[in-house]
Subunit: 237 residues, 2 copies
Amino acid sequence: MGTEDRKAREKERRRNQIIDAAERIIFSKGLEQATMDEIAEEAELSKGTLYLYFKNKTELYLAITQRGSDLLNSQFAKVFAGGHDHTGLELIRLLGETYLNFVRENPNYYNAFMYYESLSDVNELKDSKHAEQCEENRREALNFMIRALQIGMQDGTVNDSYDPKELAVVILSSTRGITAMSHMHGTGYHFEMLDEMELSVDTLFGNFLKLVGTGIASEDARKRWMTDSQNIETNGK
Amino acid sequence: MGTEDRKAREKERRRNQIIDAAERIIFSKGLEQATMDEIAEEAELSKGTLYLYFKNKTELYLAITQRGSDLLNSQFAKVFAGGHDHTGLELIRLLGETYLNFVRENPNYYNAFMYYESLSDVNELKDSKHAEQCEENRREALNFMIRALQIGMQDGTVNDSYDPKELAVVILSSTRGITAMSHMHGTGYHFEMLDEMELSVDTLFGNFLKLVGTGIASEDARKRWMTDSQNIETNGK
DNA sequence: TAATTAAAATGACTGTCAGTCAGAAAGTGA
DNA sequence: TCACTTTCTGACTGACAGTCATTTTAATTA
C-alpha cells in the first residue's frame, strides 16, 4: 500500500535533514569540535533520534563523505555527457580539471575524503553502506579514466603502448596527489610551500598536465598538447 | 656546569621513552583506541608526567609523525650521499623508489602522515615544534627533487623546457598520490581496486615511472628510460 | 649529615561527550 | 475508543582527555 512508500520517503527526508544539519555544524567547526548534541539541536531532533538513523558519529560523517563522492562523480559524468567532440587526450585533461575544480569549490567535502582515507579501522568501514558507495564511486571514476584512455588510443591521441587500466590507476592516483596539494594549500592550514615558492595552483596544475600529456601522448599528439598546455583554463566545464 | 647538560639529556631520554611507548600502543591499536592512561602505563610513568612532556595527545602523535618524517628524509639523503654516479633522471627514479619503499616498510608512520595532513585545525599545528619540523622536512625533500632535476638538466637526461622548481612540486605531489594508493592497498583496509584489477603495486609504480620518465626525459634519454622501465627493482637502494 | 630549596612525578579528580535505553508521544488500523 | 506499532526523547552511564594539589626525588648549601 501507499502508506509504506510515504513512510519510506519520510524516513529518507529525516535522514537528509540530519545530514544537512551535520554538514552545517561540522563544516563550520570541524569534526572534532562538533558534538552530537549540537547537531541534534541544529536538526531540531533529540540526540537519541540521530542514533536511530546513524549508528555512530563516524557513520554520519561517512554519509557526508558519500554526498561529496556522489557529487564529484556526477561532475565526472558530465565530461562524457555532452556531444562527443573531445579527443581522448582532451578528456583526460577535462577529468583532471573537473577534479581540481571540485577541490576548490568543495574543500569541506575534500576534507571528508581525507578523513575517510585516513581511517585505519577496518571495522568502522566494513559494514558501512556509505563507505561501500564511496568505493563504488571510486571504481566508476576509474572507469571514466579508462574510457578516456581507450578513446585516446582509438583516435590516436594517446600512446597505445600502455595498458589503459594500469595507466588509468596511475593517472588517477597522481591526480589525487595534485589535488591533495591544492587542497592543503587552499585551506592554508599548513603547507605554505607553494606561497614560499611563489607558485600558484594553476601553474602547478598546468605543469602536471604538461607532464602527463607529454608522458602519454602519441608522438603525433605531443606537439599539439605541449603548445596547448601553455595557456590553461582550469575553470573549464 | 655539567649537571645541566646531564639533565637536558635525561629529559630528552624521557621524551623518547614516552614516544617509544606511544608508538607501541598506537601502532598496535590505532590512535583512537589508544588511551593516554595505557601509554603512561607502557612508559612506566603516570599520566600526569606525559602532560609535562607533551601538551596533549595530538602533540604526542605529532612527535611520532616527526620521527617518520625524519626517517623518510634520511632515506632521501642517502640517494645523494653515495658516489655521484647517477644521472638526474636516475636520481628521480631513486627518490621515487625510496618513497615507495618507505611506505611499504613503515605503514604506521605513513598512517601518521595521513592523519597529519587530514588535521584541519590550524591551532593544533601552529605552535607545534614537531609540525614545524615536518614542514621543514617537506621543504628539504622538495630541494632533493629540485637538485635531481637540475642535475638531469645539466647532464642532458631531463628536458630543460620545465622550470625545475615547478616540476619538482608536481613530481613530489603525484608521487605522494601513488604512495598513498600503495599504502591504502597495503593496509588493505579499504581500496581493493588493485586486487580487483589484478594489479600489483610494482606494476603500478613501474607505469608511474614510465609516465613521469617519458614526460620529463629529454628526447635523447627517452628511449633508454622506456626500455629500462620494463624491469624495475623497487627494492633498490 | 641535616636542612633547604628546586624539579619532577603522581594519581585522584573534573568536565565533556559519545552512545544507551526505559519510557513518552505520535501514528495506524479496527 | 482501544490495542498495537513506530518513532522519538532526554536523563543517564561509562570512558577518557586533561588538570592540579600533593608527594617524591634530586641538587645545593651550611
